[in-house]
Symmetry: C3
Subunit: 351 residues, 3 copies
């Protein structure tokens, strides 16, 4: 962090949280740090056991941790059940999202029949279309383009250079990262006489409350109905969401995932990075998919799923493995041959 | 759809199309719907057999379908050979692309020696470079940046926040999605004394007529000659096209595909999502590549191609499969051992 | 190339380079060409043996090549040890990066406490935040958004529509492609009572000197400390760099790669396209990873690494391979059964 922030006492930072302070609750904290960093007046947390070894020598002013690690802690300990969650809450004190002046920057171009709440902040160089509604407390970062008939609700925050096509509905407290495009046309084409004819994409996009979408994602509008991202879902960067996809509430999706058209993903799912979904699938609630999986069929039950074979190996080993699989057919034949020979031998012996 | 659109009779919608109307051709249609939706005055189509079950109870005002489903249709039937193609044509009546005022918005910055046809629409906050030519009927959406010496031809449509570097040629009726970057430098570096030296990328990009490119793609300029995308090719979102790549006419490429430098893809190919192409390959015409394939060598004949092994399984099964493959070597040894033993036995018996 | 450039003699082009000219060093060169192109007054190079066959008939005015090919060269030969490196140096004479007027374009919106060197070029429609420092000779292309507390050093070049969030430090002679977003929030969420709570991302990003980053990449800020890209590293397009990642000096990464949070990649590595890294890994220096690899664990030693099994095959063969692997378990059982039977037979014989 580059800035000198305001300082808070441990007591202030933990107000309303289920935390027991072991140490001096009036200790002043000016920011966050990692457990192994040479920081002063900073708070850190211990969650990953890999980092436990740094606890005895930590230079942090306070450590958020679980009961069983409190004894080892040489400084102020904030004891709780879920240190990462408590850290998330405390860290908000030191957050400084880019802040823009209330109102519409004079460089912004605004269309007709557009209602922008006076408490909204529309930063420089934006273009707002016709018939747009922007709610109270909304921030639209510099260079954003908001298409016709878009609705953006209470306290939603768009970083710089976000593009919304027409008819995109964004709920409350949504966060959208820079470069993300929402409402683009899906890959809808009908081939006739050797030529692709565009199928007009006439639906929109609905993004429910508390969704977060990262940077440089592409979320297509629906072909007929709306593409849908459910309440509290979290999407990382560079994710492709094709037309008509539905993503269930509180599902989290890591970067570089591609979801093909009309696939429906359930609630509370976790999707690892670079996973690809075929189209028209149905994925149940509470499904976990490991990174790099090719989801080629629907998943009807909760559980952990993967695809492919073979972890990371040297390129030499990889070549051998591939060759072995190519020889499997031959191996099967040899085993079958052995079985015949042996059967013959046994039989001959018996007679 | 959020807007009340103009209504059209079935007769108007099907004019010039090879369609037989069974029912009342004066029925008014105000939009499109899915076959299972509770819509009024909307038209739908039946193509995917999965949706046939909804036909008897459809609430649509008319269904575009094939002859053999006409009897089951409880409402107006538009009988034709290719319902999806006919739907594509009819749906254009209800399409409403963002429309901008003719001419150059006052906020636009235009360079020197630039020729913009008076019928073109250059939306707010664009930056147009020097020596640019923009043809009749072209739309350049808000926030686009058009580099020096670019040419954009008749009726091409750039959505908001598209970036063209210098020397990009875009043909007629091309559509380019938001966030897409065309003409970026390829990964060209020569290592010398442990340091990468940039190889200047001096070619451009040529995009032929009727190409469509989705959102947030990156298409590099050629190193010496032009990167090339042939007539009528269709690219989805988040696609990487490296320097010197050539994509043949009417080839369709799904999202998240990466094409390495100097690879040539033929005409009328279909490329599934997240496929990766190595560099310097040649792919024949009419090749189909399934999603997630690693194309590691050239493909000389039409056909369907894939790579990797093993579909989607539970993570437990996946671990077992991987372990089995690791044990293949041992298995081969055991079979060889068995063969020796058996040969010995047989021989002994014979003597 | 669309433009008529200045011409240079071979002598001028090779000044200071370790090159022997065989031919007329006063030959005028106006640009570059490929070895098989019908060009006039252009220079080319021969590196890839695949192109050697074109040498005897080349129409280029001069060819950069190695000693052993000089004899076959029908035109001026520029003999050197590393033709591609020499080409890289010579080609810079013909490079024409978009050039903007010195100073700040009147359409730019600039924040408070911002120091922009008078020799910097800030192109149209940019938005520069508060407390920003922009060094001498820096170019910021049209439509860029530079967040608060960013520092951009000497001669760095940002193409159009780049977005830097707050607290991004960019070194000297860095090049950043259009659409790239640097400093976005990482996927940091703590689940509590079934709901994801955002973990504020309080670090920044440090990009060292001579880094090049392509188009439409997403580079997240650190959660606590800075995400880091080391000196001279080269990143292609559409790359995801998650929070806390460190990329070593002079490492080159091809397009569509995803690097998960807190992974550390060493120096002088080469990473093939569409490779995915799990989080919290450590990759040694001088590691080469082939395209499409899933790096699921740390790599402690230099070498070439891959994952998965099975190269490109017809889809039919692919189905068979997958089926074979599914039958491996059965095959193992059959071999075990054979071993038992045979052991029994042998034993019986012995008794």
């Amino acid at each position: 962090m580059l800035k000198e922030n305001k300082k808070y006492t441990l007591k202030e930072l933990t107000q309303g949280l289920d935390v027991t302070i072991k140490g001096d609750s009036s200790t002043l904290i000016k920011g966050v740090c990692t457990i192994d960093a040479p920081s002063v007046e900073c708070i850190t947390f211990l969650m990953n056991p890999l980092y436990k070894k740094y606890l005895p020598d930590t230079k942090a002013a306070a450590v958020i941790l679980q009961q069983n690690e409190a004894e080892m802690c040489p400084v102020n300990a904030l004891i709780c059940r879920d240190p990462y969650y408590i850290y998330a809450k405390i860290a908000t004190f030191f957050e400084e999202k880019p802040n823009f002046a209330q109102g519409i920057h004079p460089s912004v171009v605004v269309g007709k029949n557009t209602k922008i709440d006076p408490s909204a902040k529309i930063a420089a160089q934006c273009v707002i279309g016709n018939n747009v509604t922007i709610g109270a407390g909304v921030t639209v970062g510099p260079g954003c383009v908001i298409g016709d008939f878009c609705h953006i609700e209470l306290n939603t925050y768009l970083y710089a250079n976000v593009t919304l096509y027409q008819q995109v509905k964004v709920g409350k407290r949504v966060i959208i990262g820079s470069g993300t495009v929402i409402g683009s046309d899906g890959l809808g084409f009908a081939k006739n006489s050797g030529v692709w004819h565009k199928v007009p994409q006439l639906g929109g996009v609905t993004i429910e409350d508390d969704v977060e979408i990262g940077a440089n994602c592409a979320i297509d509008r629906g072909a007929i109905n709306n593409t849908f991202i459910g309440e509290g879902a979290k999407l990382d960067n560079l994710i492709q969401v094709a037309h008509n996809v539905q993503i269930g509430a509180h599902t989290a999706i890591a970067a570089c995932v591609g979801i093909s058209g009309s696939t429906i993903i359930g609630k509370n799912c976790l999707v690892g990075g670079q996973t690809g979904f075929a189209g028209h699938l149905i994925i149940a609630d509470n499904v976990v998919i490991t990174g790099g999986t090719e989801v080629s069929k629907s998943i009807r039950a909760p559980g952990v799923y993967s695809s492919g074979i073979g972890g990371l190996v040297s390129n030499l080993e990889w070549r051998k493995n591939s060759a072995r699989v190519q020889r499997l057919d031959k191996l099967m034949e040899r085993v079958t041959q052995l079985e015949h020979l042996l059967a013959e031998l046994v039989e001959r012996k018996a007679t």
